[in-house]
Symmetry: C2
Subunit: 280 residues, 2 copies
């Protein structure tokens, strides 16, 4: 099978490595408007050839859109214009805007919306790694609007990556990812800024930063190119969860002010229940 | 050398493993008011014998207090009452309250206040691990108030654990740890609560939780027994940093409301500078 990957970054590049390695793809064609990414992708043997989008679509059986979210939404209708039997999938982090972009497209059935819940705080072809997807979950969204064969192909692809498939509609997806992914990023960005602000006076404090600190701010390394389009498209959900998060922090603040450490203790105990989820 | 460790938990137990393994200690005496901890410590071969506090102090060359912070402050003056040539050190997470507790003690010179910046989200003797301290930083506080020999012994101990020593006064220490440790814990506790609250309606969302989420909420597994005394003793600094953190999150909130994604982009870029610290 010939697979085109549009956007050879962390996700696209990692798909390239793994789909070639596990035999799902015979040939990987890379499409990326950034020539440096194409050069790096060749150097790391992520792609077999590169092409412009139109040519790549014509040659391929499957086209995977793995660019930042705004570019996915912008490219998708044009890519669907070009296909006949080809299957098109995207791997972005929001879904409502994607569904809106294709809802009346005559080739809607060739398209499958997906979201592999895997990633790191790094980006670009240099961030591509083997086994990024192993044993993680992926979302398939509103497959009732896709044709049967494209859905089967995408299921086969994710099975080859050893991912477990969860089926959601676009609205559910966007709410859930706001909770389990997007808010974590905002929390890390904010924590990094809070501490960096302090660092201006006190260079030494980072000598003391331990594993716990690194863990909570790790995601603050994530690129704005990727995240701004996500926050734009999922703004209302993110705002809602951010409000709740600020309220929870304000509750802690209020308990500190009142020195109500009994209630504080209970809240920590309650938050400890996250164990049962993280150790799942 | 005979070393008594009071509080055989994550830190005390890990010290026991490593000080015995590297030859610094010939005998480890465990003191813990929780008999279950003592039993576990024997089963895991963390200690050679156990004793009541008074007896253990009489037999030892070095006494390490590794209980929760409130118990350290409460026990410390009584332990200093018992010593003649013995050295006493503590390994807790705040310092101002400790210094206050011993400032006029006739045996103040025998005491060294320290804070090894190492840990995990787990607690109890079962959490003790080898090499917890390797290549991390430890703080020694206000050594000018300790006698020379006790300071040298404690320096030798931390060298044996391959820790780098940073010297701070108690006030500095408590401000810095509020920034690089305590706020990370509050942020994780709050994030866990925010998401757990949502889970009541929607069991499925955790299927989607990926590595990023786990990383930012990992510390929410931490025990309230350990953390409430820290927040009590470092309340004013924690409140100050928490205010700043809520302000930063509110700035993100305001930018989302105004759809000012250009400014949002700049803030993410700024927070990306945390790379230079985390990759140190």
């Amino acid at each position: 099978m010939i697979v085109t990957i549009v956007g050879i970054g962390l996700i696209g590049g990692s798909m390239a490595i793994n789909l070639k390695e596990n035999g799902f793809a015979d040939t990987i064609i890379g499409v990326d408007k950034n020539q440096e990414h194409i050069d790096k992708a060749y150097r790391r043997c992520l792609i077999d050839e590169d092409a412009l989008l139109e040519e790549a679509v014509a040659k391929s059986d499957l086209i995977i859109l793995a660019t930042p979210m705004d570019v996915i939404v912008q490219l998708l209708p044009g890519v669907l214009d070009l296909v006949s039997t080809q299957v098109v999938m995207e791997v972005g982090s929001t879904k409502v805007a994607v569904m809106e972009a294709v809802k009346n497209h005559p080739n809607r059935g060739n398209f499958v919306a997906t979201h592999p819940m895997a990633g790191t705080e790094f980006s670009g072809p240099e961030a591509a790694v083997p086994n990024l997807f192993n044993n993680k979950c992926t979302v398939l969204c509103e497959i009732e609007n896709s044709n049967e064969k494209p859905v089967e192909l995408v299921q086969k692809l994710y099975a080859s990556l050893r991912m477990q498939i969860v089926y959601l509609d676009a609205i559910e997806h966007d709410v859930h990812t706001a909770y389990v992914s997007h808010i974590s990023h905002i929390s890390s960005f904010a924590l990094a800024l809070t501490v960096l602000e302090k660092e201006r006076d006190e260079k030494r404090i980072f000598e003391l930063a331990s594993g716990g600190f690194s863990s909570t701010v790790r995601l603050a390394k994530s690129s704005p190119e990727m995240w701004i389009p996500i926050f734009k498209q999922n703004r209302d959900n993110v705002l809602d969860v951010l409000d709740e998060h600020i309220n929870t922090l304000s509750k802690f603040r209020s308990l500190l002010i009142k020195k109500d450490f009994d209630e504080f203790y209970k809240l920590i105990e309650k938050s400890n229940q996250i164990r049962k989820i993280l150790n799942r």
